[in-house]
Structures are given as C-alpha cells and as structure tokens.
C-alpha cells in the first residue's frame, strides 16, 4: 500500500515541476467581441482622423503630422516594456494612450475610463495578426529598483555614454547632433531625428529615470534607436547621466532683460560677452497661420540674452540644431509654394538650397499702450524692424516688414556674428541704442520683441519657419552709484549745519541768559 502512494507522490511532483514552459505559452488576451466592438466605437470617434479608419496610419491629418501617426497594421510600436523584436504589452499601449506623446500630434487621453482604454487596446490589437499569432504573448522586462540619483553616478554615466557611443546619434553633449543624425530614417523611410537629451521634457517615452532605463534597454521599434544590453552596474549610471543633462519642465521665460555693461561691446567676443548665466528660454512653434506653413519646425526653443553699453545694444540668440546649413541662401521674403500634402512630403528631404537663418523682430516705433504690430512681420499701420542673419553669410541684414507679403530692405544699422559649435548655433546681433527716426533703446523701457528661426535642413525659408509670440525686452537701468554714499553725504552735511546752528543758538542764549539767570538768583 505504501509504495504505490509514494510513486503517486513522485509522479505528482514531476507533473508539478513540468509546466513552467506551459505557463509561458498561455493564450494572448484579445478581449471579447463586445469589448472589441466597444473599442472600435471609441477608435472611430477619437483616433481614426489620424490613424486611419483601417488603422494604417493614413488618416486625413497624416500629412500635417511628424512623426507620422502610427500605422497599427504594421504591428510596430516604439514604446514598449518588452525586449527588442517583441510586441508591446497591453499596459504599454494603455500608457501611450493615457500619457500621449509630447511634441507630437498625439494628445494624452486622460478622460477615458480604464474600461474604455482597455477596449480601445483590444480593438487596436485587431489591426495586426502578430497579436493573435506566435508573437502574441509577451513578457515585460524587469526594471530593478533604482538607487537614488547621485552626481557621482551621473559622472560615471558620462563614461558609459562614451563607451556605448551614444554620441554617434545624440551628439557629444547630447544635443541630438551626432554624425549619423542627418541620415536617420524611420521604418517607413521618413527622416527622423535623435532625441535632444538636454530637453527631457520632449522625451516621448517618459521623463522619469525608469522611463530612461526602459528606453535604452528595449529600444524604440520602428526608429533607429536600438536595444542596448548595458552591464547591470552601469545601467543606472547611464540613466543618471542623461537625467543630469536637463530638467523635467522647461523654464520658459516671460521677458528678456538687457543688462548694462561698462565695456564697449566687442562682437568678436561672441557668446562670452553674455556671461554663464542661463538666458531666457522661449518656445518656438511652426508658423501655420499664413501660407508657406511650417508644420514640423526643426527648432523648438531659443535662448535669449541681451546687454547694452552707453551706445549700443547686443542680443544673443542660441538654439540647438542637428546640423549647421552654411550653404544656400535664406531670407524672410523668400517665396514658399502653396501647400499641398505632396509638397509637404517632398519638402521633408533636405534640398541643400536653404541655409539656417534667424531674425529678431521689433516694432519700428514704440507702440502706444498695449497694441503691438502683427506678430508675423508686422502690418501696414504698425511696421516692424527685422534684424535678419542668413547664417551662410555671417552678417546681418535689416528689413522693414509691413506684413509677410510686404518686406523690404531698410536703412537700419545692425551687425551680427554667428558660430556653430557642438550642435548649437549662437548668433549675436548688435545695433545702436539711439536712432533719429527709428527705434531707440532707452533705459527702463519695455520693448516688444519676438523671434523667427529657419532650419535649412528642414527646407525652411520665408514663411516656412519657427516663430515665437511677442515678449518684452526690458532695458534694465544702468546701475548708478549706490545711493547710500550720497545719502550719508547729505545726511552728514545736514547734521553739521544743524550742529552749527544749535551751537550758535546755544552760544547766543548762553551769553544773554546766564547773567539774567544769575540776576534772578
């Protein structure tokens, strides 16, 4: 009796130990018919305009969007928590829907209920057979608990960054300007840019340290970003290095303060004229209001600094650019052909015709009250001065704009110097502070100012450019001598006069009254 039982136990033990592989080969979760139908409803209402009715990414808005809307029929998803070559998990797809993708056309769908998002995911999974096939069951990678951030770890991470040659695409300082950057294409042949690691707020796969870990471990399918197998002891160091290059949110400025300098402004000193402090960062968006629209501007922010001396004012503009286009030409008045989706597609391939360029816009006259000139190169009654630098020329040009159809060379005297270094353009404009007819830069004054930038690699010219809204340039008054010394001076003089006066009065009355007093006693 005893033996069969023990055999039974042994057999039982074997049966228990076997199915580890079986558990892995579970069925993919495709939802119920009703769930997929419910998902389809939401999809057709909220998603199909970009991703297409049939999920092939060719919705009506496709031509306007870069990156292009995901083609779900390809089964390729950038943001996954799974190994390279695997499908995303349901949780990954839900995260993409919920969080959206910053700096793309994909919004964050936070108002959908959990059930609605789940149903949407079930429906999206019907677009591709991978989800029901041999690749259908996936397992996320394990992300170990991160040690807390330290500068030391970030410093060590710099070496990991170098060892793994992340700079080939992301550039030595992480500005997205690596040597391979200009040739990168996505799975569908569209040009694609490596992330600017100094702007974490633009990361589409999330900005936390865990997100950064996941990105380089899984890679971004459909893009050139591969999956890296980094030694475990180096993984968080690399995360910390990337993390140390930027902040969660951009510190966008509300105005630009021009500070007084004692020495005469020497343009050849370039960037060093302006000190090491962070300047005013202003966001750049594509000009999409007037014909010649830029739906995918190459530049997303400009840093601005300003200084002035007794006679002149200098404004520094600086921005990250994947490549410096120093050949070809550019001008705010260059014509751009009328928009068509075909033209838009063609215009994404670098033509070599247009150089990088930048411009400052100022009202030709200080406006009365709140009214400013129209922010796109002014209007008839409120013209703007345009300080323009075609970076193929390394000099400034002066235009007067009365609307983007009406831009002419003007007589203003403005000079400029430019430099491209480590993925960053720095352009310094300089002009006289006082002008008989035009604009003067008077101390303690707020002057409207805005900026335009053209990325030649993106074939930007004329109205196809990056723009900013109006900001104020404040001319911070020249620091006079400290008020304490004159105050002390005058205080002392007044005190002395008073003392003399008191002394005189006391002396006078002492002479007169003392005898009288004596007389009384």
């Amino acid at each position: 009796m005893r033996k069969p039982r023990s055999i039974g136990i042994i057999v039982g033990l074997f049966l228990i130990s076997i199915p580890s592989q079986r558990l892995l080969s579970q069925e993919p979760d495709l939802g119920t018919e009703a769930q997929r139908e419910a998902g389809k409803k939401i999809y057709l209402e909220k998603c199909s305009q970009c991703h297409g009715e049939h999920g092939d990414g060719s919705g009506e808005a496709k031509a306007f969007l870069r990156p292009a809307p995901r083609n779900f029929t390809s089964g390729i998803f950038k943001f996954r928590s799974t190994a390279s070559g695997e499908l995303p998990t349901d949780a990954d797809l839900k995260r993409s829907i919920r969080e959206g993708m910053p700096y793309t056309g994909m919004p964050a769908w936070r108002d959908l209920t959990n059930e609605e998002v789940a149903n949407l995911v079930y429906f999206i999974k019907t677009f591709n057979d991978y989800f029901s096939g041999p690749y259908g069951v996936v397992e996320p990678i394990k992300i170990p608990d991160p040690p807390s951030f330290s500068d030391e770890s970030a410093k060590r991470g710099r070496q990991v960054f170098l060892d793994n040659q992340c700079f080939d695409c992301h550039g030595n300082l992480g500005r997205g300007n690596g040597k391979s950057a200009p040739t990168l294409k996505d799975q569908w042949g569209y040009p694609i840019r490596p992330a600017d690691l100094t702007k974490r707020w633009t990361f589409r796969n999330g900005i936390s340290r865990r997100d950064i870990y996941r990105t380089f471990t899984t890679g971004l399918d459909g893009s050139p970003m591969p999956s890296y197998s980094i030694e475990p002891e180096n993984q968080w160091a690399l995360v910390d290095y990337v993390y140390s290059l930027s902040r969660d949110e951009p510190n966008y400025a509300t105005m630009v303060v021009a500070q007084a300098v004692q020495e005469e402004i020497d343009l050849s000193k370039g960037r060093s004229l302006f000190g090491d402090e962070e300047g005013s960062l202003v966001p750049v968006v594509g000009q999409v209001i007037e014909p010649g629209r830029a739906f995918h501007p190459g530049v997303n922010a400009i840093e601005v600094k300003a200084i002035y001396d007794a006679d002149e004012i200098a404004v520094m503009l600086s921005w990250h650019d994947m490549t410096a286009e120093k050949t070809g030409e550019n001008s705010p008045a260059l014509a751009v052909p009328k928009f068509s989706p075909e033209m838009l597609a063609k215009d994404t391939v670098y033509s070599g015709q247009y150089s990088d360029a930048v411009a400052i816009q100022l009202p030709s006259k200080i406006p009365q009250g709140q009214k400013k000139p129209y922010f796109l190169f002014g209007d008839k009654s409120n013209p703007v001065d345009i300080w323009f630098a075609d970076l193929a020329k390394n000099k400034a040009e002066f235009f007067v704009g009365k609307g983007s159809e009406n831009i002419h060379s003007g007589n203003g005297d403005v000079s400029a110097i430019s430099q491209y270094e480590e993925g960053q353009w720095t352009v310094v404009f300089k002009a006289a502070r006082t002008s008989e007819e035009g604009l003067s830069f008077v101390e303690d004054q707020f002057i409207p100012i805005n900026f335009s930038v053209w990325d030649g690699f993106n074939n930007e010219r004329g109205n196809k450019r990056g723009i900013t809204s109006w900001y104020y340039l404040y001319i911070e008054p020249m620091e006079t001598e400290s008020a304490v010394i004159p105050m002390a001076k005058y205080g002392t003089i007044v005190l002395l006069i008073e003392l003399v006066l008191i002394a005189y009065i006391r002396k006078k009355y002492r002479k007169e009254e003392i005898p009288a007093a004596t007389g009384k006693t």
């Binding site: 074997f14 592989q21 080969s25 041999p134 793994n164 040659q165 380089f216």
Partner: protein, 258 residues
C-alpha cells in the same frame, strides 16, 4: 525493484510531457539527439540536386565606392564598393538567393542546431546575402571596435534592433515565420545593408564568386525555384528532379532577360 521501475516510468513520463509542452525554441539537451538522428534519417531518400549559374545580360553597372566615414575607413586598407550589384569576373552575378519556393508539400524539416553566423566587420556585413531556417539561431557578431546597430526590418516576422557598441559583442536572435527577404541595416552607417532569406526548409543557396548555386539533398519531385536579387528582383522556374538526379536551372538577370 518494483519501486525502481515506478520511479523510472515516472521520470520518462515527466520528460515526455516536458518535451510535449515546450514551445520549441529552448531545445533541451535531450531534444538535440533525436533531431540530429531525424535529419540523418530524412536525408536517406533525399538525393536530388538542383544547380545552376546566374548569368547577367547587358551592361554591368560600375561598382560605386562606398562613402564611408573616417572611423570606418581606418578599419581597412582596401576600398569597399557598393554591394547592390556584385558582378563576378566571369560575367556572372553574385549574391543571388535561390530557393525552393514551392513543391515540398507538408514536409516538416528539423531546425539546424548550428547557428548562422553574421558578422559586422570593417563596417560591412558578412555575408551580404544569406539564408536561415525558422527557429535557427542567428548569431550576430561585432568584429569592429565601434558601434553598429543591427536593425532587421522584416514584414511578417518581428523587427529587432540591437545596439552593439563593443568589439566582440554577440547577440542572438531567430525568426519564427518564413520570409524572403528580410532586410538588415545599420542606422549608424547607412551604407551597410544585408538580406536574409528565412525558410522553413533547408533548400536554399546563394550564388557565389563564380555565379553558381547548388541546392542539394532534395527529395525527388517538381519544384518552383525562385532566384532573388536585391536590385533585379525575382525570377522563377519549375523543375522536376528524380531520385539521385542533378538538374541544371540557369537564370539570366539584366536588361533583356526574359
């Protein structure tokens, strides 16, 4: 004694169920032996051969030197040329993938245990065109002291993309579904490209330095043979081969090719 037999049968049962339940890829040591025996057993009645030469008709394009960067040029002395079209000295075409497209019916073929080696060397892929069976390990090497990313862009299999920054890095991957051809590229060095034919049988070959190919150990039968070239597209022929027979199937690519 009875007890011993009981344990033994339990062991056997266990391993049997274990094998049945496994999904294939992680072939255990026990599985290796039967697979090898099976392939030997199968080769007994597989004696037919299809061989041929890939001719080229018309003006051969001049080889274009590759526009490599300084880092890559430093890795080798000789000039590398574009491999879109590689003409052999005898006027034949190299790097044509020739395979049995149909005619094998429902036959199943074992997955070879030997991996296919694929190297990134001197900023170039070796081999440039190759075949692999489904489930077979693709062993990817990096012989260069610099970063390559191995980026496969299949349509029916899953794409993968590994960063391989160090000399001696090795990554392994396999394809699950037949697919002719899978393009492989390096995003860091855009001139680097290779093509891989994935099949669920071993009947494929790539034309070599004298333009010939040979598909061996075929069972007798009628087959559709396809020849694929990355620039000139595909051509097919239907060929019947008998037991122990060798048939010649030549292909002619180029302008006036029929």
């Amino acid at each position: 004694m009875k007890y011993f037999i009981g344990v033994l049968s339990a062991l056997m049962m266990g391993s049997l169920i274990g094998c049945g339940g496994g999904g294939g890829e992680q072939s255990s040591a026990e599985m290796k032996k039967p697979a090898a025996q099976e392939s030997m057993a199968m080769s007994a009645d597989m004696t037919a051969t299809i061989t041929g030469t890939i001719h080229f008709n018309g003006q051969a394009p001049q080889p274009r030197p590759l526009n490599q960067d300084r880092e890559c040029l430093a890795l080798h002395e000789d000039q590398f040329f574009n491999e879109d079209v590689v003409m052999n000295a005898n006027g034949t075409l190299k790097n044509v993938f020739v395979y049995v497209k149909s005619g094998l019916g429902d036959r199943k073929f074992p997955t070879p245990l030997e991996p296919v080696e694929f190297d990134q060397h001197g900023c170039k892929y070796t081999p440039h065109v190759f075949g692999i069976q489904t489930g077979q390990t693709l062993k990817i090497l990096n012989s260069d002291p610099l970063l390559h990313n191995i980026h496969a862009l299949p349509k029916t299999n899953r794409p993968f993309n590994f960063g391989m920054p160090k000399q001696g890095d090795v990554r392994e991957q396999s394809f699950k579904v037949p697919e002719v051809m899978v393009r492989i590229k390096c995003d860091v060095h855009p001139w680097m490209g290779a093509y891989c034919g994935v099949l669920d049988h071993p009947y494929f070959s790539v034309s070599d330095d004298d333009g010939t190919f040979s598909i061996e150990n075929l069972p007798p039968g009628e087959y559709v043979i396809e020849a694929w070239h990355e620039t000139y597209g595909t051509m097919t022929q239907t060929i019947s081969v008998g037991d122990k027979e060798t048939k010649v199937a030549d292909f002619t690519f180029g302008k006036s090719a029929s």
